[in-house]
C-alpha cells in the first residue's frame, strides 16, 4: 500500500470517528451513555441499523460470493421488509411504552427477573462469539495488504473500536455509523463505476447482462431445484441434495430468514439499542422501514460488483490463486507437487482463454457460445480448486472467496480509491464491532450490574463502571478473535447467531402472543428451544437459516405447553 493510500485511509477514518464521538463524549448518565438521551433522529438511527448489520464480512465476502455464486445470496434478504413491518406493528410499541435501556428489561416487566437474566445471558454468549468474528474479518484485509500477520491487525481493530466506543457510548456509535455508512456507499459505487467502465467498454451494456446471464450469475431467485429431496439429510452424503440443507433459495429466504431478522432486529440488543435511542415510536418505525428498503438494493449492488469482477477477470487475467498465503506457498512448493501444480496452472490458462473467447461471443449475441462459456467457467473453477488443494492441504484453509475483492483492490484500483475502500471496509468492521461492544456493555450493566450487583449505584458511578466493563468486553473479544482460524467468514457470523436467535425470539413471542405464559413457561421455552436447536444441529444436516425457525417454534411450543400445566401455588 502506498503513502497516498495510507494518508487517505487514515484521514477518512480519523475524521469519521472524531466527528461521531465529539457529539456525545462525556455522557454523565446511563440514559445519555446507553440511549444518547433518546434524541437520535430517525434517519440516523436507520443508518446506524444498516451500518451495524453491514459488516466488513458482508463487503469482503459478499463480493466474493457474487463472483463465485452470482446473485443467489440476495434471497436471504427477501423477508427483511416483512419482518420489519411485524417489528413496527408489535415490537416497537412494546419497547417504547417504558423508558427501558435494553430489550431484556421488558422481559422482567412481563415474566420476572429470572427470564430477563437468562435471556440477557444467552444474548451475551452469542454476541461475544459473533463480535470476535466481526473483528477478525478486516484483519484479513490488512494482513493481505501489508504482509503483517493477522494477530496485530485484530488487536489494532479491537483497540480502536474499544477506545471510541468507551469515549462516545451509544450516541457516539450511532453518529459514527452515519458517516461510516456514507463512506461505504461511496466506496461501493466508486468500484462499481470502475468495473462498469471496463466491462461495458469491452462488451457493451447489453453484452454485460448477456454474459452475466450466460455464466449463471443472474440467479437472484431459485424457486425449485430438481435435485432437492424433501427428507432432511442425516449424513454427509445426502447433504448436497436435501431441500433443507440448501442455504440460498426463495423458501429459505422467506421463511427461514424472517425468524432471523425478527430476532436480530427486534430482540438483539445490538440493534434494539438504536431503536431505543431514537426520539419516538414513529422514529423507530421509520428507521426500521428505511433500513429494510435500502438493505436489499445495497446487497444487490455488492453481489453485482462480484459479478462484474468475474467479467473483468474473465476478459483480462483471472489469478490462479487469490489468497496471498496460497501464492507464497505456491512459490515454495515441494518437488513432488510442482508437476501437478504446473498441470493445474496450464488447465486454468486453457480454460481462461476459452472463457474469454466465449464471453466475447455471448456478448456479441451468439447464444451457442453459452455452453462453451459455462464449460470453461467450470473448468477454470476446477483448476483453481486443484491448485489450492496442492498449495494448502488443510481443507478449512482452501477457500479463498474472502480474498477475491481485496486482491482486485490492491492490484488494480488507483491508490486514493484503495485508501478510501480500505477505510470503507475498516468502517464497516468497526461500526459492527462498536454496536456489538456497546450492546454487550448495556446488557451487562443494566441487566446484571444494576439489577443484581449495585441497584443503588448513582449515575456517575454506573457510567464510570460501564466504561470499565466496556473496555473489558473489548479486550476479551479481541483476545478471542486472535484465536479464530480462517474460513468462510460470512457464514460464521450468521451461523453463530442462528443457534441462539430463534429461542430468544421465542421468548418475546410468548410475551406478546401467549397471555397465559409466565416466567416459568418463558424460561422453560428458552432452554428447551436452545436444546432442540443444538439437537437438530447434531443429528441432521439443515441450512443454518432454518435454526431460527426451529428455535422459535420449539421455544413457543414448549413455553405454551408449560403455561398450560397447573401451577404449584
Amino acid at each position: 500500500m502506498t503513502t497516498t493510500a495510507w494518508i487517505v485511509f487514515l484521514l477518512v477514518t480519523a475524521y469519521t470517528i472524531w466527528d461521531g464521538v465529539r457529539r456525545t463524549i462525556g455522557s454523565k448518565t446511563m440514559e445519555g451513555f446507553f440511549a444518547a438521551g433518546r434524541n437520535i433522529p430517525w434517519w440516523a438511527a436507520g443508518l446506524s441499523v444498516m451500518a451495524t448489520q453491514l459488516s466488513a464480512i458482508t463487503l469482503i465476502g459478499g463480493v466474493g460470493m457474487g463472483y463465485e455464486g452470482g446473485l443467489e445470496w440476495v434471497q436471504t434478504y427477501f423477508a427483511l421488509p416483512f419482518a420489519m413491518v411485524i417489528l413496527c406493528v408489535w415490537f416497537v410499541p412494546m419497547y417504547r411504552q417504558h423508558p427501558i435501556l435494553t430489550a431484556y428489561e421488558y422481559l422482567e416487566r412481563r415474566f420476572g427477573p429470572i427470564t430477563r437474566t437468562l435471556t440477557s445471558f444467552t444474548f451475551l454468549i452469542s454476541r461475544c462469539l459473533a463480535f470476535a468474528v466481526v473483528l477478525y474479518a478486516p484483519a484479513v484485509v490488512f494482513s493481505a495488504m501489508t504482509e503483517i500477520p493477522i494477530t496485530p491487525m485484530v488487536v489494532v481493530t479491537g483497540l480502536v473500536t474499544t477506545a471510541y466506543t468507551v469515549a462516545g457510548g451509544v450516541g457516539g456509535v450511532v453518529w459514527t455509523d452515519v458517516k461510516q455508512m456514507a463512506i461505504i456507499v461511496v466506496g461501493i459505487v466508486a468500484c462499481l463505476v470502475m468495473l462498469l467502465w471496463d466491462t461495458v467498454g469491452q462488451l457493451g451494456f447489453g453484452g454485460v447482462f448477456a454474459a452475466l446471464g450466460a455464466a449463471g450469475k443472474l440467479n437472484a431467485v431459485e424457486v425449485v431445484n430438481p435435485a432437492w429431496t424433501l427428507a432432511p439429510a442425516t449424513d454427509q452424503a445426502g447433504k448436497a441434495t436435501s431441500f433443507w440443507s440448501d442455504n440460498y433459495n426463495l423458501w429459505t429466504g422467506l421463511f427461514g430468514t424472517v425468524f432471523l431478522f425478527l430476532s436480530y432486529f427486534g430482540c438483539d440488543q445490538v440493534q434494539v439499542q438504536s431503536l431505543l435511542s431514537s426520539k419516538s415510536v414513529d422514529s423507530s418505525r421509520r428507521a426500521l422501514l428505511m433500513s429494510a428498503f435500502t438493505k436489499v438494493p445495497l446487497q444487490l449492488l455488492v453481489l453485482f460488483l462480484g459479478g462484474l469482477l468475474f467479467l473483468h477477470h474473465g476478459l483480462a487475467r483471472e489469478p490462479l490463486l487469490f489468497d496471498p498465503d496460497h501464492q507464497a506457498r505456491a512459490a515454495n512448493l515441494p518437488e513432488p507437487q510442482r508437476v501437478p501444480f504446473a498441470a493445474a496452472a496450464a488447465a486454468h490458462e486453457r480454460a481462461r482463454n476459452d472463457r474469454r473467447e466465449a464471453l466475447l461471443q455471448v456478448a456479441a449475441g451468439d447464444a451457442t457460445a453459452t455452453a462453451r462459456l459455462q464449460q470453461a467457467t467450470m473448468a477454470a473453477t476446477a483448476a483453481r480448486g486443484e491448485a489450492r488443494k496442492l498449495v494448502q492441504p488443510a481443507e478449512g484453509r482452501q477457500k479463498d472467496g474472502n480474498y477475491i475483492f481485496t486482491d482486485y483492490l490492491f492490484r488494480e484500483v488507483p491508490k486514493p480509491l484503495l485508501g478510501l475502500m480500505i477505510a470503507a471496509i475498516f468502517a464497516a468492521a468497526i461500526s459492527s464491532a462498536a454496536g456489538a461492544l456497546s450492546s454487550l456493555t448495556s446488557a451487562s450493566m443494566v441487566d446484571f450490574y444494576r439489577r443484581w450487583l449495585a441497584p443503588h449505584a448513582d449515575e456517575a458511578r454506573a457510567v464510570r463502571t460501564s466504561r470499565i466493563v466496556m473496555a473489558f468486553w473489548g479486550l476479551a473479544a479481541t483476545g478471542f478473535a486472535v484465536t479464530l482460524g480462517d474460513g468462510p467468514l460470512l457464514e460464521k457470523v450468521n451461523e453463530i447467531g442462528s443457534f441462539f436467535y430463534g429461542s430468544i425470539l421465542g421468548v418475546f413471542l410468548l410475551a406478546l402472543f401467549v397471555k397465559r405464559a409466565d416466567g416459568r413457561a418463558a424460561s422453560a421455552g428458552l432452554l428447551g428451544g436452545l436444546l432442540v436447536t443444538f439437537g437438530v444441529h447434531g443429528t441432521m444436516h439443515i441450512a443454518f437459516l432454518w435454526y431460527n425457525l426451529v428455535g422459535a417454534v420449539a421455544c413457543v411450543g414448549i413455553g405454551a405447553v408449560v403455561a398450560l400445566l397447573p401451577r404449584r401455588d
Binding site: G70, P81, F82, V85, G213, E222, L250, V281, L289
Partner: protein, 52 residues
C-alpha cells in the same frame, strides 16, 4: 429549559398518511421486487451446468 421529547410522541406523520397504509405499500413493494428479480432469473439467467 426545553422540554425533552416524549418517548411516545410522533415527530412526523407516517410516510404514506397512516401506518397501516404504509405497511401495506411496503409489503406490496417487497413482493414486486421479488417478482422482478424472479423475472430477471427466469428470462436472463442460464443456470451453471445447464447449457447444452
Amino acid at each position: 429549559m426545553a422540554t425533552p421529547p416524549s418517548p411516545d410522541s410522533g415527530d412526523a406523520p407516517p410516510p404514506f398518511g397512516s401506518w397501516p397504509r404504509t405497511y401495506m405499500l411496503a409489503m406490496v413493494l417487497a413482493v414486486v421486487v421479488v417478482l422482478l428479480l424472479w423475472l430477471l432469473t427466469a428470462y436472463g439467467n442460464t443456470p451453471l451446468g445447464s447449457a447444452r
